[in-house]
Symmetry: C2
Subunit: 320 residues, 2 copies
């Protein structure tokens, strides 16, 4: 499944170098002289995250694991070696136990090979602390913000410790909350990963169908927006404008997602939060799960400038 | 539902002017002096088509109807009046009975208002002739090719008759075939629009869940690619390279869609068809329907240049 997808990605995107056997996706012009490289990865099934975010202004490389399964250190080290120009490599790691262990091992192995490595952990999901896959908060929608903004900082030629600091700043100021309206089906299992009766929804869902906070009878789009935004704002008290990601989990039609965005914007206005930029779409997905998540990132002038900087990847593209 | 989505679209995309009451989406800088304007529209539920394709290099305006229901002539005339610079307006119309009737009426009304109007009908779907919604072939994936390429021609400052001719050339050289793995659910009905048992698929599906050619037990991705590509090639015998759109119907994970692309590329290579450009994603959708379609467009140097030209819309963006 993953190998097929990588072959299909390679055929559609000649600007990427895809090593199907070793499962590494690299921007074709890497390494870029004098610039820090960004490497991320994680289980497959969240596309376009991460492979679809490889390209100028964002990731230098991505390592996909099997569906919902961490990639292995060997992939990460290969990716780091392929993209390191000598300026060092930043690993962007979603906070799941498997990913954290494997990336930590990859840091050691890469350093043994003489590559300077730093790491940013993404843990933005306020729904639960600790879960089936996690110690602490899960990493979800903010991963896109970290990869885009730290990628832009690297593109500007900032040194590794600054790119790392910017990535951490983005994560520290970002929070997410997700809702599922239906389960997802992994190809290996072939049946839904959890049971969610029609007419019910699950609040605080993760991106692997792992349990959230609670189930409730179906709510309106406006009611869901109230719950999701308030959950985020309980943990983040933005004094400055925010970036807003209204993210579909895979099977939510854009028509519904834009309608949900209207409600999220209403709640944010009611709570006095100014929105600087809005991104609506299926970006950090969970296979064919129906549902949506809301991610806010409190920004400053520098983060906004880096967000607006040009980016050219299969999944996110503007300004070039 | 549609009004909510338009409010959400407006909030996310300040570069568009969205008239929620009258249901017209216009690029903010319209009318563009001296240039032909493109207007399209159709039932909602196919997003990003058409509203997500409004912007420089593609559509000047779009008119969304209710879900799976044609917009009315008044919307189309408003849109035409808003974007006409005096160089004329090209309507891009998918071949469904309601859309054709309403756009034909809009042509007359717009001409009464002194707007020069031409029309391109898109009818690329080889699966069925005549259907619940259509006389003749249905208009599906090729709509994206027509809107992008004719939009680029308009952007170059070509006169109306040339933009129209290019639009027709794209449609004449394009063919599509779609497959459903599961039904879609319209918000008004709240239950699936047709019954497709798990373990079966429907070959030749349309973009409204209307029946296709036949049902079969589930097939592999490779088998589906064989059937879809051969159905297209039975009607199109390309001597030149093609544009390829591997399109998701809404609920198909990108992981699966890229895997399907690998199989489509294999079949095309086996049949001796060269692929110049590939686009993979959920572009011409059917709410939350699971499935995919394949569209080929035989190109020449001019069409390829126009395809590659810069475009900046919510749904399709490159080069600016």
């Amino acid at each position: 499944m993953v190998a097929d997808a990588l072959r299909g990605l390679a055929a559609a995107h000649p600007e990427l170098t895809v090593d199907v056997e070793n499962r590494v996706i690299v921007r074709r012009d890497a390494p870029v002289a004098g610039k820090v490289a960004l490497v991320s990865g994680g289980g497959s099934g969240h596309e376009p995250l991460h492979g679809g975010f490889v390209g100028p202004g964002m990731l230098s490389a991505a390592c996909p694991g099997e569906v919902f399964t961490s990639p292995v250190p060997d992939q990460m080290v290969r990716a780091a070696a392929a993209v390191d120009s000598g300026a060092g490599v930043l690993f962007v790691v979603k906070n799941y136990t498997g990913d954290v262990l494997n990336f930590d091992m990859a840091v050691e192995l890469a350093e043994d090979e003489g590559i300077q490595v730093a790491k940013v952990l993404v843990d933005d999901d306020v729904a639960v602390t600790d879960s089936l896959y996690t110690a602490g908060r899960r990493g979800t929608g903010a991963t896109l913000f970290v990869e885009k903004i730290a990628g832009a900082a690297a593109d500007e030629g900032r040194p590794l410790e600054q790119v790392e600091a910017i990535g951490r700043r983005v994560n520290d100021r970002s929070r997410s909350f997700g809702v599922a309206l239906g389960p997802c089906t992994t190809p290996a299992k072939g049946s839904p990963t959890f049971d969610l009766p029609a007419g019910e929804l699950e609040l605080g869902i993760g991106i692997h169908g792992e349990p959230g906070r609670e189930r409730r009878p179906m709510m309106t789009s406006g009611e869901i927006a109230d719950v999701a935004v308030d959950a985020v704002l309980a943990d983040l008290d933005p004094r400055n404008p925010v970036l807003l990601l209204v993210n579909g989990m895979g099977a939510t039609p854009l028509l519904e997602l834009y309608g949900f965005n209207a409600e999220v914007q209403r709640v944010l206005a009611e709570r006095g939060v100014a929105v600087a930029r809005t991104l609506v779409g299926n970006y950090v997905t969970s296979l064919d799960m129906a549902g949506a998540s809301v991610t806010l990132c409190e920004i400053d002038e520098e983060l906004l400038r880096l967000w607006d900087a040009p980016v050219r990847t299969p999944g996110l593209r503007w300004g070039m």
